[in-house]
């Protein structure tokens, strides 16, 4: 039994609820198709003369390929074509190359070595799936097994087998400088030194299989005028189109991708696992080609949510305030990068969770191991660290002898609080969620906790400030000995180095087409802004429930930061913005 209710009374002054259809529970456009089985998924298209593509996968976790003999498979009944790495026009790619992030590191078909069990080496196109499967067994590949590494920390040690030659240290390279992405805010060491309790724990998120009921796949077929139609389950249609165009080396207008109706994805259909080889097969045979993973392939080689190992160290005061938090985390990318490099950035921005903590640091690594490359999944970059953070919060509450709900409310971030990535929080609502969940669960809260608000107490005093911050050069690329290096510099309080966020760019807003009506912007209605609050070193000491004291004096919300300047002239260059200055990875 499930029930949902709407609390329209909360934040009511920030909404106009008199809308015509937005906010109404009207029927889904796709529901009639779903219940009549008329919805068409990628595989629900018939083509005459369709070939079926199956790949031969590595049986080894890590091995050099000495020789490949496909002659027997080529002669097998129904086989129309056998593809090897040399047949793939651009046989090295990384998904985020479309936005110039990272170096090409993954072949479509392995050539010199395999880096994980299940890596595709040879593709077979045959008249039927059964024939393609039978011919798979006739491919002879001579392997020379290599030592493999599976642990995200072991792989970073000197002497570990090199998983991915593009990144010989077995880590993704950030900014051409470091073997991880750093976050530095304040001085965590001083925070730990001054804390009443210091606690460190290790957490391990499991890998997860997306397990969509529809497995990954695509059908590619020649159209007229040298074009190819592709029925795809991709979660990003143009992502898959761009990736395919690059790998098969055709102009993007030679590909006609059709999709948009996908049988579950959860992140597992971002990788373009089948489209490039299906299109290549259609190009080389002139026939429609269907490449669909079977369930075992989907389960074993359909790229999982990557595992993450997370260490959290916290400094806690007896009154329940967290004064320092350091997070060290390792993403298990598997053998190739795919999207893990991006998740580490997202994770960095998420640290330290929805709380205000004066001293925060994190070191997020992307480690290569000899397993199937991992990819995005629902909550990418956040789900695992949320598990770790919230179990840690439970431990901290216990250590402070506080109720876990009260402890969350005490430490919750509020409007105007400075986040460690140096931008002020806005539009927050954690406090209210805790209060409402407590009320519905009949979990008693103190009067003080019930009166707390996301609108009150945030951005006051040091909560709105960027503190003086200790910098270091730990983890320089290729120098494992630099991992425990000293502090190199102290950035003065208030220092920022990245230009403030630009406003969203909307074509209609820029050229006036959308004027005079702008995109609805719902600014919170606030009381007249009070003068900036006087400096206050710390929030009022927390009163645990039971020893209730008179209501604390809430600091009024500080005025919102001034609006950013008008949007700069928008990017007009066609195609991706160059990310090289961001991630320090040159391409092209």
């Amino acid at each position: 039994m499930t029930t949902m209710e709407m609390r329209k009374d909360l934040f009511a002054d920030e909404r106009d609820d008199n809308l015509n259809v937005v906010g109404k529970g009207v029927q889904r456009q796709d529901m009639p198709g779903h219940v009549t089985a008329r919805t068409r998924f990628f595989d629900d298209h018939a083509f005459d003369g369709m070939l079926h593509l199956k790949v031969v996968r590595s049986p080894h976790h890590h091995a050099r390929i000495r020789a490949i003999d496909t002659s027997a498979a080529e002669r097998a009944p129904g086989v129309k074509r056998v593809l090897r790495g040399a047949d793939v026009p651009v046989n090295k790619n990384t998904l985020l190359s479309l936005i110039n992030f990272g170096k090409d590191d993954e072949p479509s078909l392995a050539v010199n070595k395999v880096a994980y069990k299940g890596e595709p080496v040879v593709a077979i196109l045959a008249d039927s799936e059964a024939q393609a499967q039978a011919a798979r067994k006739l491919v002879r590949i001579d392997y020379d097994p290599l030592p493999a590494v599976f642990d995200v920390e072991e792989t970073l040690k000197a002497g570990a087998p090199v998983v991915n030659e593009t990144y010989p240290g077995n880590y993704f390279e950030y900014h051409e400088r470091f073997d991880h992405q750093k976050l530095r805010f304040g001085d965590v060491e001083r925070g730990f030194a001054g804390a009443d309790i210091v606690m460190e724990h290790r957490y391990q998120m499991s890998p997860i299989e997306h397990a969509p009921t529809e497995t990954n796949g695509s059908i590619a077929a020649p159209e007229q005028n040298g074009r190819y139609v592709v029925h795809s389950c991709a979660q990003g249609l143009f992502f898959a189109l761009g990736t395919t165009a690059k790998i098969v080396d055709v102009e993007s207008n030679q590909l006609h991708f059709i999709g948009g109706t996908v049988g579950g994805g959860f992140g597992g259909k971002v990788d373009s696992l089948t489209e490039p080889l299906a299109v290549l097969g259609a190009m080389l045979t002139g026939r429609p080609v269907r490449f669909v993973l079977d369930r075992e392939e989907e389960m074993l080689y359909g790229s999982p949510r990557g595992a993450e190992r997370i260490y959290i160290k916290d400094g806690l005061m007896r009154d329940g305030r967290i004064v320092a938090r350091h997070i060290r985390s390792y993403f298990d990318a598997g053998a190739y990068t795919r999207l893990s490099s991006y998740a580490a950035i997202k994770c960095t921005a998420h640290v330290p969770g929805p709380y205000w903590i004066p001293n925060v640091a994190s070191d997020i690594y992307v480690s290569y191991t000899n397993r199937c490359p991992s990819t995005a999944m629902r909550g990418f970059g956040v789900t695992a660290v949320d598990f770790a953070l919230e179990v840690q919060m439970d431990r901290l509450a216990e250590a402070a002898n506080m109720d876990p709900m009260e402890f969350r409310i005490l430490n919750a971030y509020r409007d105007g609080d400075m986040k460690p990535h140096r931008r002020a929080a806005k539009n927050t609502a954690l406090v209210e969620c805790v209060q409402v969940a407590a009320e519905k669960a009949n979990w008693p809260l103190s009067e003080q906790a019930k009166r707390a608000s996301s609108l009150l107490g945030g951005g006051a005093g040091e909560r709105s400030q960027i503190p003086a911050t200790q910098l270091d050069a730990r983890g320089q690329i290729g120098r494992p000995d630099s991992r425990n290096g000293p502090v190199t510099q102290v950035l003065p309080a208030g220092t920022t180095r990245i230009a403030p966020s630009k406003q969203p760019v909307m074509e209609g807003a820029r050229d006036g087409r959308a004027a005079p009506t702008q995109v609805p912007r719902y600014e919170p209605q606030r009381p007249a802004a009070p003068p900036p609050p006087a400096y206050q070193p710390a929030p009022p000491p927390y009163q645990p429930p039971g020893s209730y004291s008179p209501a604390p004096v809430h600091q009024p919300a500080s005025p919102l930061p001034a609006s950013p300047p008008p949007a700069a002239p928008a990017q007009t260059q066609h195609g991706a913005v160059r990310f090289s200055s961001v991630f320090g990875t040159r391409r092209r």
Partner: protein, 160 residues
């Protein structure tokens, strides 16, 4: 391999085709006859998205040899509606928002249809049992269970 002739009734219409002796009913329906209602999810009988009715009994089309269906009545989700009139289960699935991606829906509807044909007033436990072979990765099952229970109480639900 020599193909074998095969005839059966599909959603009330006589159909004839030729199949490999090893072909399963799922491929025959989808690729041979163009009924894309039953889906491929595992080919191993573990997910239920290919569920069809063979002489009124729910069967997994991926594990059913096509030639074993000679002369049988095959019903799929594609034939559930009576012209423009939806089956009460289809109405209930819509009403309860019991589909998200929609990929498991044809199999779910078919499993539920078999249940209601035999047991017009099932308990929640009987509904759960009837769909326990059908995997849904989106909905958390609750809206599907609620829809089936609601359909059981709707007029016309006993229509097979």
């Amino acid at each position: 391999m020599a193909k074998l002739p095969l005839q059966f009734r599909l959603n009330g219409s006589d159909r004839a085709t030729f199949v490999d002796p090893a072909s399963n009913l799922l491929d025959t329906l989808r690729r041979g006859l163009g009924d894309f209602g039953p889906k491929y999810g595992c080919g191993q009988g573990t997910c239920g998205v290919c569920t069809v009715l063979v002489d009124g009994e729910p069967q997994l089309a991926c594990l059913t040899l096509a030639v074993s269906c000679e002369g049988r009545q095959i019903e799929t989700a594609s034939g559930m509606a009576d012209g423009p009139n939806l089956h009460p289960l289809q109405d209930a699935f819509m009403e309860h928002f019991a589909a998200q991606c929609g990929f498991c829906t044809p199999g779910m509807l078919t499993a539920a249809r078999a249940l209601l044909a035999k047991n017009p007033q099932p308990s929640r436990e009987e509904v759960v049992e009837a769909i326990s072979g059908n995997i849904c990765r989106c909905t958390g099952y609750e809206p599907i269970i609620a829809a089936i229970l609601a359909a059981a109480n709707a007029p016309g639900a006993r229509r097979a």
